[in-house]
């Protein structure tokens, strides 16, 4: 069998090697980053005499194979499942099957926004007037294909019904996000003059003047890249916009190494790992797996409390801009929202609140939640169409 190409003179049995290989495979399936080096070391471990009992083996393998806290906490299960045959694989299957359902819901939001229109319009009592908006701009849009982007740029996302146009808008949102990202990074590299002397370079240059440092070369702290932390509201009242915003966020996070994304509705989910997937559809699929219960109510205050308590420390530093994409309709108490916003504001550099409803005629941020949050917001801006998203860039660039 497979043992043919195993070293026969090896003191470690082929059976052990095969089961070790199987274990490594099941670790990889569970998302562990395990390379050949680790496997080799595991073989060295098995050969040595420090492991006499299975408990020892577990401890040793845990130290060797784990790389982060999440690995650490689920190691027991993976180990027991493989070596002791407890609850084998059933866990994996369950999550796979249940995920399919939620996957659909988020896909629905991205693909087909038309049919959901009525329910949302019902939520927010604004009916007359807005329907005319797209037809106002229709003439310019119909001129020719080239100006379609132009037209799309001004159209409120909720008024785009044609799936093709929607796809176009999604693509543009993502492109825009990527373009913003590229320009933001380039900016850092040009800053070079600073307060301190670069002695190494100064002396090097002084050689040309016979050792006298005439020309002083300076250095300064290199500007750190701005980190973006995005909190995306995925509740029912936002469902008109969720699709395009997820694409926009995907564009930002995909390329922004300094970016983290969270999704919230009634609870908060960290979705950066899903969004790091390059392909947009796959990223959204993975995000769907993570964010169950999307499209329900909103508890912004609670979600923010959760963020402040468990997620803020690792993702926020002094050059962090927190971007909240939400309409501010909150079923929680405004007091809590205000309190949590104040706490968040202390930690980060800027809070940008993007509210798609600012683009609506006659909208005033009068809801309790919005009122409580506004004092802590540095920039309160519309986000109902592509143009408003693009307008963010100069602001971010100045930070």
């Amino acid at each position: 069998m497979a043992s043919v190409h195993l070293d026969s003179h090896d003191d470690l049995g082929a059976a052990v090697r095969v089961s070790l290989a199987g274990f490594v495979r099941s670790l990889r399936d569970s998302g562990y980053k395990v390379g050949l080096g680790e496997t080799e070391d595991a073989i060295r471990l098995l050969r040595s005499d420090i492991i006499k009992r299975p408990q020892r083996l577990k401890e040793a393998f845990r130290a060797l194979f784990c790389g982060r806290l999440s690995d650490w906490t689920k190691f027991d299960d993976v180990f027991d499942a493989y070596w002791l045959g407890r609850g084998v694989k059933s866990g994996i299957k369950v999550s796979g099957s249940s995920s399919r359902k939620t996957m659909k819901t988020i896909r629905e939001m991205v693909d087909a926004q038309g049919p959901r229109q009525e329910t949302i319009a019902g939520d927010v009592d604004r009916v007359p007037g807005e329907e005319d908006e797209p037809s106002d701009e229709a003439p310019s849009g119909r001129r020719e294909g080239a100006s379609i982007a132009d037209h799309l740029g001004k159209t409120d996302f909720r008024n785009i019904h044609d799936p093709e146009q929607m796809a176009k808008a999604h693509e543009l949102a993502e492109k825009l996000a990527k373009a913003m990202r590229i320009r933001l990074t380039r900016r850092d590299k040009q800053k070079r003059k600073g307060p301190r002397l670069d002695l190494r370079k100064t002396i090097r240059h002084s050689i040309a003047q016979g050792g006298t440092p005439i020309e002083l070369i300076r250095k300064g702290p290199r500007a750190r890249q701005l980190r973006l932390v995005i909190l995306l509201d995925a509740s029912g009242s936002m469902s008109n916009y969720t699709g395009v915003f997820t694409r926009f966020v995907h564009g930002l996070v995909d390329n922004f190494r300094e970016a983290e994304a969270f999704l919230f509705h009634t609870r908060l989910v960290h979705v950066s790992s899903a969004l790091s997937e390059r392909d947009a559809t796959r990223a959204l699929d993975r995000m769907g797996l993570m964010a169950q219960g999307i499209g329900g109510g909103t508890k912004i205050g609670e979600a923010l409390a959760d963020f402040n308590r468990f997620h803020a420390a690792p993702v926020i530093h002094s050059r962090t801009c927190v971007m909240i994409l939400s309409d501010g309709y909150d079923t929680g108490t405004p007091d809590q929202l205000g309190e949590e916003m104040a706490r968040l504001r202390k930690r980060c550099k800027r809070i940008v609140w993007l509210n798609p409803m600012i683009g609506w005629d006659g909208y005033e941020p009068v809801t309790g939640g919005m009122q409580a949050a506004l004092p802590h917001v540095d920039l309160f801006a519309p986000a109902h169409n592509l143009e408003s998203l693009a307008a963010l860039e100069p602001y971010l660039e100045r930070l």
């Binding site: 471990l45 020892r56 130290a63 750190r224």
Partner: protein, 294 residues
Amino acid sequence: MTTQTKDTLAEALAATGYVADDGLAMALLLTEMLDRPLLLEGEAGVGKTEVAKALAKLDETDLIRLQCYEGLDRSDAIYEWNYQRQLLAIKAREGVGDDAETVEEAVFSEKYLLERPLLAAIRQDKAPVLLIDEVDRADEEFEAFLLELLSDFQVSIPELGTIEATSIPRVILTSNGTRELSDALRRRCLYHYVDYPDTSREARILLSRVEGLDTALALQIAELMGKLRKEDLTKVPGVAETIDWAAALVGLGTKNLHEQRETVFDTLVCVLKTREDQARITQEVTDRLLGKVA
């Protein structure tokens, strides 16, 4: 100490004043066996740095510590030329009339080299313990460089050539999780998550660290700390805080926590480090928690 088993290692560590749990003793044993660095993660104040100190004490070797911070670069971490002395030397030799090459050779020699922790760590006669503290605070570029050093153990200085390690240090890295470390670095290292100790281990830590503390009081303090950590606190107190607190209680002559409830409450300043936490843990809460302690 290659012949050591896990249990003897744990005992030997305990003798130096560090009470390790089974997993940590195993991880330390493996660093020796597999020549891999050990990455310790955990909340602030659970004793990550102490591990390295205890290990150095155990091996009777030096502890070389590199504290990482934002903007840490090669000149602070590896080596730097002593520019002032170099400039002086150049000026001093001006009158002598040496040719340029001689001057250059003299100026770029060991004499003018300032060792920083990483270079110092690989140039010891006896392998030291190298502690790279809070590696998550350094930026990603530095992390990449660190990875290179940890696999080759050599440093190349353009003016001087490559410096090979005379001894391979035992490397301990600690991280507080303020930034996500790269997968490459994580893979290179063994990993151990240092959690808050359980009651009996914390009591043993207290006994080995605080003089004049009796076992019953140590157990009471450890148990109360365990309860306190479960409260809704902004800043969960670490082991260092427990040690401070125990020392304070001993200093004030406390024998039994139940008998001196007020002292207990008054000395909570050793443990609660934010205004919100101090407001939250009132005398009533303290009494309630004390009620659950044996």
